[in-house]
């Protein structure tokens, strides 16, 4: 199956908090995408980037963290021993320990919804269309289309190569 990407384009994000809201709603009050507010009041949603060479997958001693067929980095809760090694190595501080499931929890690109043929809720509901989900070429096309139409000229542009790099590596260029 073709790998899917969940890409958050910080140049088009307006910090409206919709992604966190809908994620919170479908995960019973534990959002897997969270808004962080910088000192200068920039509202930045941080989610799992499902990195190409994900350090959490490499470090997990029980192989509880794995990549599924759509490309999402997921957790097999029954194999998680709560050692928090993944949390230590994640550059975004994404995984968190859930007392409810007694295991590490993180964004799994809405695995339950994908099984029902639905897409990740944050991407569907983002009013600014800053979160894109799909195969790499589709995500690149949509991000470029969105930017071409709506990004004000004061914001710097990324070259195609930089954009491709930022989407496929999971890292963010700000």
């Amino acid at each position: 199956m073709e790998r899917k990407y969940l890409y958050l384009d910080y140049l088009t994000c307006i910090g409206c908090e919709t992604c966190e809201t809908v994620c919170d709603f479908i995960h019973d009050g534990s959002p897997h995408i969270r808004i962080y507010v910088t000192e200068n009041k920039q509202y930045l949603p941080i989610n799992c980037k499902h990195c190409d060479d994900a350090p959490c997958v490499r470090v997990c001693p029980t192989n509880a963290i794995y990549r599924d067929e759509d490309g999402a980095v997921r957790i097999a809760e029954n194999r998680c021993i709560g050692c928090l090694a993944c949390l230590q190595v994640c550059p975004y501080g994404v995984p968190f320990y859930s007392l409810k499931v007694r295991a590490i929890t993180k964004c799994d690109m809405c695995a339950d919804r994908r099984e029902e043929g639905l897409e990740p809720a944050c991407a569907l509901m983002c009013p600014a269309e800053a979160i894109q989900y799909g195969p790499l070429e589709m995500v690149l096309e949509l991000v470029n289309e969105r930017r071409a139409k709506n990004i004000p000229e004061h914001q710097r542009e990324l070259s195609d190569e930089e954009l491709r790099e930022s989407v496929s590596s999971g890292y963010v260029l700000l």
Partner: protein
């Protein structure tokens, strides 16, 4: 581009419950609630006084923040795939009141009529009135409300407002009082239309609700930023704005908002010449009532219980009309949880 998927919880229309819900207001809270309710099998009708659904997302927030097409496609999907019926240009009101955007409505319906004709009603009418500042000269020609200004600009681009209605701002000096997101959006649009823009704020950039990030973007675009100033009076000439007189302020102890209170410094008056002045100091809830039909608080916001139900059984409320001005995400959250309550109430669970 794809539309906002307000019905993100389901793939297709489920079997119908036979229950009918009226939603008043087609902004983010109303449309999200509709998306949830149609996924639960309820029949939804949406009333809005504007010519098409979308609310502030469509008619006020600048295009570079939220694309018009994304909102339009989202609303259209609800209509075509989930059989939501829109009643545009329809003002729902119990009592009488004039609001911004009233020029668009052609039909009026009473809120109590909706309560009689539907199994449940959700009010999500938002904040369509502007707070007035109340200083001498604030009624002069050339004083604009941010809502009018943003609405005229966006409305003209959407083809609903005649182009002549939008002031020619090219080369004009525009002053903006306030430093919230509305003030910032007004400044962006005036700057884009060629005006020389100056923002006046009574605290410092550290306390500005819009934040230093947005304000610094504006400053990089040539917008001037004056902090620690408060308006004293507007000076006119032949009934039109000529200048604003400002007082310098200093910051005192924190007030109820946790921010340091601005204290005017007597004798520090100075004037700035202007062609237009925008008071972007907050927007006010516009419930579809003017009177005692449902309870509202001192600031005009609808009072709801933990189920989002108003003082009238079966009428719920959500979004900015309950909370005052907030972000789109907060309105969406409120719409979702209100819809959960409505669904439970319709099923007799609470």
């Amino acid at each position: 581009m794809r539309g906002i998927k307000f019905s993100f919880l389901c793939k297709e229309k489920p079997p119908q419950t036979g229950k009918r819900v009226a939603i008043v207001g087609a902004g983010p809270a109303g449309l999200t609630a509709a998306g949830y309710l149609v996924c639960k099998g309820h029949d939804v009708d949406i009333y809005d006084k504007m010519p098409e659904p979308g609310g502030l997302m469509l008619f006020v927030i600048p295009e570079f923040r939220i694309p018009v097409e994304r909102v339009r496609l989202g609303a259209k999907e609800l209509e075509e795939e989930f059989e939501v019926t829109y009643y545009p240009k329809t003002k729902v009101m119990e009592g009488e009141r004039e609001d911004e955007g009233d020029e668009f409505y052609e039909r009026a319906v009473r809120l109590s009529e909706l309560r009689e004709n539907y199994d449940a009603v959700l009010i999500a009418t938002g904040i369509w009135n502007v707070r007035r500042i109340g200083i001498p000269g604030d009624d002069l020609e050339g004083i604009l409300s941010p809502l009018e200004l943003l609405f005229w600009i966006k409305g003209a681009e959407l083809g609903y407002v005649p182009k002549e209605k939008v002031p020619d701002l090219k080369g004009k000096r525009v002053g903006i009082i306030g430093a919230g997101l509305t003030a910032v959006d007004a400044a962006f649009e005036c700057n884009r239309l060629g005006a020389e823009v100056e923002i006046f704020y009574r605290r410092t950039i550290r306390e500005a609700p819009a934040g230093a990030y947005e304000i610094n973007i504006l400053r990089n675009r040539g917008v001037k930023w004056f902090e620690l100033v408060t308006p004293k009076r507007v000076i006119g000439e032949n009934g039109r704005v000529k200048a604003i007189e400002l007082l310098r302020t200093r910051l005192g102890e924190p007030d109820e908002t946790g921010r340091r209170r601005p204290i005017p410094i007597e004798g520090s008056e100075f004037q700035v010449e202007l062609d237009y002045l925008v008071f972007a100091i907050g927007m006010v809830s516009t419930p579809p009532v003017n009177g005692s039909y449902i309870a509202t608080d001192k600031r005009g916001r609808i009072v709801v219980d933990s189920r989002h139900m108003t003082s009238v059984e079966g009428i719920f409320a959500a979004g900015d009309v309950v909370n005052g001005p907030t972000k789109v995400g907060r309105a969406i959250k409120d719409g979702l949880y209100a819809a959960v309550s409505i669904d439970r109430w319709l099923r007799g669970e609470s």
